[in-house]
C-alpha cells in the first residue's frame, strides 16, 4: 500500500542520514576539529549521539506530518487544504533539539561551525526530504519546493 511505501521511505532517509553521520561526517570531523575539551574520539561520540538525536527528532516530525496529513486532516471542506503552516511548524522540534545540541556539545577550538552545519543538516534534511518527497497525495505540495521535486509522481 502507498502509505507503507511512503513511511518506509521516510524511515530509510533518516537511516541513511544516520549512516552518513557515523561513517562520513564523523571521520571527516576527526581530521577537521581540533582543540576539543576531551579526547577527540570521545568528543566524536558526543557528536554522533547528538546527530542521531537530531535525525530521530527530524524523523518523528516527518512521521507526525505524514500521520496527520494521511489520516487526520480530511478534505471534505476545500478551505482546509494546504496546511503549509502546520508543515512549517513541525520543523520546530528538530530545530529546538539542534539548539540544545549546540549548547550541550563541548566546544572545540576549531571546526565548530562545521559541526553546527552538520547538526542542521541532520535535523533538516530527513524532515525536508521525507516530507517533500513522500507527503500524502492531498498535501504533496505543502512542503516548500516539493512541486519541483515531485514533478514525476
Amino acid at each position: 500500500m502507498k502509505y507503507v511505501r511512503d513511511i518506509s521511505s521516510i524511515i530509510l532517509i533518516a537511516g541513511v542520514m544516520v549512516l552518513f553521520n557515523v561513517f562520513v561526517t564523523a571521520p571527516y570531523l576527526y581530521d577537521v576539529v581540533s582543540g576539543a575539551p576531551s579526547k577527540i574520539e570521545r568528543w566524536l561520540e558526543t557528536y554522533k549521539g547528538w546527530s542521531i538525536y537530531l535525525t530521530g527528532t527530524s524523523l518523528v516530525s516527518a512521521l507526525l506530518w505524514y500521520v496527520l496529513s494521511q489520516w487526520f486532516f480530511k478534505l471534505n471542506y476545500w478551505a482546509k487544504s494546504g496546511k503549509r503552516p502546520v508543515w512549517s511548524l513541525l520543523i520546530a522540534p528538530p530545530l529546538l533539539v539542534t539548539a540544545i545540541g549546540i549548547v550541550l556539545t563541548p566546544a572545540a577550538k576549531e571546526g565548530m561551525w562545521l559541526v553546527y552545519f552538520f547538526y542542521f543538516v541532520s535535523a533538516l534534511i530527513p524532515y525536508y526530504l521525507g516530507t517533500a518527497l513522500f507527503s500524502p497525495s492531498s498535501f504533496k505540495y505543502a512542503p516548500v519546493g516539493s512541486q519541483l521535486l515531485r514533478r514525476w509522481w
Partner: protein
C-alpha cells in the same frame, strides 16, 4: 442515423430539458463519444415568453457550451446536440397580438365567402375567436390544430425547411432518422401539435419521395399536474378539464387512422395530479431570491414523469423496431423508487451514470469551483495538487479567463442539473419518492405558503453524504469527498483528446465514477414491470 426531438408546448419543453440532462450523463445509445449521433432539437410554442421554455433553452445553451470543452472521450456531454434555428417556432412569429379571427381573416371571409365565415362561427365560439393567442392556445386544441395545420411550412419557413432536408438526407443515405415528439394530451399546444405536426412531417416526407428509413414516435403525457385556477372570464386552460380533455383525446387516438402516423407511441401519466405553479428558480451563488410572480418566473417545476419521457425517447432511439403493447406500473402505490423505472438500460447503467454525474456536479459546485476561484484571487496553488498537475502542467490553462467562460458555464449547467434532480424528487405529491438524496444539496423552503426546494449555497452542501447522493443509501462513508480530493491529487490523464480545462473535467468526471449499485443487496431484485 440522427435523432430529432421536437418539444411541443410547455410540457414538451420540460421533456426536452430532461432529455438534455440524460444526454449530459452519457445515456444516449452510442457507447463512445466518437460514435455519438447528433440530436437535433427544436421547440414549438406560441408562448415564447414562458419560463419553462426559457429554462429548457438555457439548459440547451449551457450544454452546448460545456460540450465545446475538449474533455476527451468521456461520456459527459458525449452527444452532439444541435439546436434548430430558430430554436422556438411559433405560428405567430410575425404577429404581436394574434387572434384566431385575425388569423383566418374573419372580416374578409364575411364579405367574400359568408358561408365559410358562418362555418367558422359554428366551429369556434366568440371567445375562442377573439382571445389573444400569444400565450398559447389556452387549453383549446381545436384552435391549435387549425392554426398549426395552416402555418407549418416545410417549403419556406425555418426551422421546418432544415428539418425536412436533414431527415430526407439521412433517410436517402441509408441512415435511419428517428423523430420523436413530446407534448401533453390534455392542454392546448401539445394536444393540437402532436398529431398535427407528426402528420404534416409524414406528408411532407412522402412528397419528397422519402417513405422509408425513418420512424416517428411520440411521447404523449396524460394529466400529471394541476395548478391554481384564476377565477375570471378570461379563456385559459382549466385543470379541472384535464381528465375530460384526455378522455376526448384518447378516443381520437384510438381510431386506427389517427395512430398510423406513429411507428410507436409512449403514453405516460400519474394517478395523482401534483400541484405545480409559481416556484423559485434555483438560487445562484449571489444569493438573490427571484420574485416568483411574473411571466418569466412562472415556471412549472420538473416532474419525475418527464424523466420517464426522456427515457422513452432513448428507448425509441435504441429500439430496432418497437412492437406490441407494453405496460409499466409502480410496484407500490405510495412509493416510487428506481426499481419502478422502465428497463431502458441495464438498470445499473442508468444509476451508475446518473450517480456519476450527480457526484461530479456536487463536487464541482461545493469543492472544485470554489477552490479554483480562491486560487485565481488569492494564489497559493500548492493547496490543490490537482490544480498544479492539470492546469499548470504541460497544457497550461489561463485560470482567470477560464473562470469567466467554460468553468462558469459548467457551474451554471450543473446547478441547473442539481435543481432538476431536486424537483424530480420533490414535486410529485402523495407519493414517497426514493430517487435522489436531495437534502444534501437542496433545502426546503416556503414561498407564498407553498413548500418548494431550492439549492443550498455550495458551502452549505452536506458533504458527509457525498457517497449517497442517490437513494437508497449505501455504505456510509463520511469522507468520500476527501477521498476524491486525494484521488484527484494523484490522477494522471491518458486521454490525448482532452485539452486545456477539459483535462480537469475529464479527470474529475472519471474519478466520480462509482459502481456501488452492483453491491446493493436489494437493488435489482424487485421487478415491477408487467407485460
Amino acid at each position: 442515423m440522427a435523432y430529432y426531438a421536437i418539444g411541443i408546448g410547455g410540457t414538451g419543453a420540460k421533456c426536452i430539458e430532461s432529455l438534455i440532462h440524460l444526454c449530459a450523463a452519457g445515456l444516449m445509445p452510442e457507447p463512445a463519444r466518437e460514435q455519438a449521433k447528433e440530436l437535433h432539437v427544436m421547440f414549438v410554442d406560441p408562448d415564447q415568453g414562458n419560463g419553462t421554455l426559457d429554462r429548457a433553452q438555457r439548459v440547451l445553451q449551457e450544454y452546448s457550451t460545456c460540450r465545446r470543452v475538449a474533455a476527451g472521450g468521456i461520456d459527459l456531454f458525449k452527444t452532439p446536440v444541435t439546436v434548430a434555428v430558430p430554436d422556438v417556432w411559433s405560428p405567430f412569429a410575425q404577429e404581436t397580438d394574434p387572434k384566431l379571427e385575425d388569423f383566418y381573416e374573419h372580416n374578409t371571409l364575411e364579405s367574400t365567402t359568408p358561408n365559410v365565415a358562418h362555418l367558422f362561427d359554428v366551429l369556434f365560439s366568440h371567445q375562442e375567436r377573439d382571445t389573444p393567442l400569444g400565450k398559447g392556445f389556452r387549453g383549446h386544441p381545436a384552435i391549435g390544430a387549425a392554426v398549426l395545420a395552416d402555418t407549418v411550412d416545410f417549403g419556406s419557413v425555418e426551422p421546418w425547411m432544415t428539418l425536412r432536408s436533414k431527415v430526407a438526407q439521412d433517410a436517402q443515405s441509408g441512415e435511419q432518422a428517428k423523430i420523436i415528439l413530446f407534448g401533453s394530451i390534455f392542454g392546448g399546444t401539445g394536444a393540437s401539435g402532436l398529431p398535427t405536426i407528426a402528420r404534416l412531417i409524414k406528408k411532407e416526407l412522402a412528397k419528397s419521395k422519402v417513405t422509408a428509413n425513418y420512424e416517428i414516435s411520440a411521447v404523449t403525457m396524460l394529466p400529471y399536474f394541476s395548478f391554481e385556477q384564476k377565477n375570471d372570464d378570461e379563456m385559459r386552460a382549466q385543470a379541472e378539464n384535464f381528465l375530460i380533455n384526455t378522455q376526448a383525446a384518447l378516443k381520437y387516438y384510438a381510431r386506427p387512422y389517427y395512430l398510423d402516423v406513429f411507428d410507436s407511441l409512449y403514453v405516460l401519466g400519474d394517478h395523482v395530479l401534483s400541484p405545480l405553479g409559481p416556484s423559485l428558480r434555483k438560487l445562484r451563488d449571489s444569493g438573490d431570491q427571484i420574485d416568483p410572480k411574473g411571466g418569466k418566473d412562472q415556471l412549472n417545476e420538473p416532474h419525475f414523469l418527464e424523466l420517464y419521457a426522456a427515457l422513452a425517447a432513448i428507448d425509441f432511439f435504441k429500439a430496432v423496431s418497437a412492437k406490441g403493447v407494453n405496460m409499466i406500473a409502480r410496484k407500490e402505490k405510495g412509493v416510487h423508487a428506481w426499481y419502478d423505472v422502465p428497463p431502458v438500460f441495464r438498470r445499473t447503467e442508468l444509476l451508475d451514470k446518473l450517480d456519476q454525474l450527480t457526484r461530479f456536479a456536487f463536487a464541482y459546485d461545493c469543492t472544485y469551483f470554489p477552490t479554483l476561484e480562491s486560487i485565481a484571487t488569492r494564489g497559493r496553488p500548492f493547496r490543490a495538487p490537482w490544480y498544479l498537475n492539470l492546469f499548470e502542467g504541460d497544457d497550461f490553462v489561463e485560470l482567470s479567463e477560464s473562470l469567466k467562460n467554460e468553468l462558469l458555464k459548467m457551474r451554471d449547467y450543473i446547478r441547473d442539473f442539481l435543481a432538476w434532480e431536486a424537483s424530480l424528487q420533490s414535486t410529485a405529491k402523495e407519493v414517497e419518492m426514493q430517487l435522489f438524496n436531495i437534502n444534501t444539496f437542496a433545502i426546503k423552503t416556503t414561498i407564498d405558503a407553498k413548500e418548494t426546494y431550492v439549492l443550498r449555497n455550495p458551502d452549505g452542501f452536506l458533504v458527509e453524504e457525498f457517497a449517497n447522493l442517490l437513494l437508497p443509501k449505501g455504505t456510509q462513508n463520511p469522507f468520500a469527498l476527501s477521498n476524491l480530493w486525494e484521488r484527484m491529487s494523484d490522477a494522471k490523464i491518458d486521454d490525448v483528446q482532452a485539452r486545456g480545462v477539459g483535462r480537469f473535467i475529464n479527470v474529475l468526471y472519471q474519478q466520480c465514477k462509482t459502481e456501488r449499485y452492483f453491491e446493493s443487496p436489494t437493488f435489482g431484485k424487485e421487478d415491477s414491470h408487467a407485460q
